[in-house]
């Protein structure tokens, strides 16, 4: 079974802190994704990576950056956390197989910024 893990289930940070959210997948998938999920807004794509050191902005990249130094690990970075970044963050991965883009999700990190 594919396993996607996220470093924390719950995280509380203060405004202005630098925050790292880590995601690891064990299935050698090329693609990895970071989403945030807010009530009534569904899942919105923050960043997408299709290979090591490669990244692409999603729909809401402002205030976030990402790092992918190894294929299995994709990090989301909040350079200076703000209260409007309080949200559920979901990581996902999938392999590059033409026509099959099912994503495998981690359990999520609920981040609260005070």
């Amino acid at each position: 079974d594919v396993k996607v893990t996220q470093s924390s289930r719950y995280l509380v940070k203060r405004t202005g802190e630098k925050v790292f959210l880590e995601c690891v997948q064990d299935m050698d998938h090329e693609n990895m994704f970071w989403y945030r999920q807010d009530p009534g807004l569904g899942l919105r794509l923050i960043y997408f990576s299709y290979d090591v050191k490669m990244k692409e902005k999603g729909d809401i990249p402002e205030g976030y950056s990402v790092s992918r130094e190894k294929k299995e690990r994709f990090s989301l970075i909040l350079e200076s956390a703000s209260t409007n970044q309080t949200s559920m963050y979901l990581c996902a991965s999938n392999p590059i197989i033409t026509g099959i883009d099912t994503q495998y999700f981690g359990p999520g990190t609920r981040l609260t910024v005070l």
Binding site: G42, L43, L90, I100
Partner: protein, 111 residues
Amino acid sequence: SQQGEEDPQALSIQEGENATMNCSYKTSINNLQWYRQNSGRGLVHLILIRSNEREKHSGRLRVTLDTSKKSSSLLITASRAADTASYFCATGLYNTDKLIFGTGTRLQVFP
């Protein structure tokens, strides 16, 4: 950008009843997928239907796709309390590995 819109936003039924959720989307798609999310957890893939398919079954799940109306429906037959969750549709587009998710339907099944 929001592609999928689910309807209804929330649905409450009794065990044994069928639950139907609908999804509408805006652009041409390669496939449409349905995911389930238990409260406070990640999403789990349920079923994928390709743009050239009209209906697909998996256990108690039945998905239909009408590309002319840009809509899909998910039917859960003989629902159980354990089906209580949020359900999301996601559209897969051509020439990209990204998915666009809808806003979800919250299903509550009462025992």
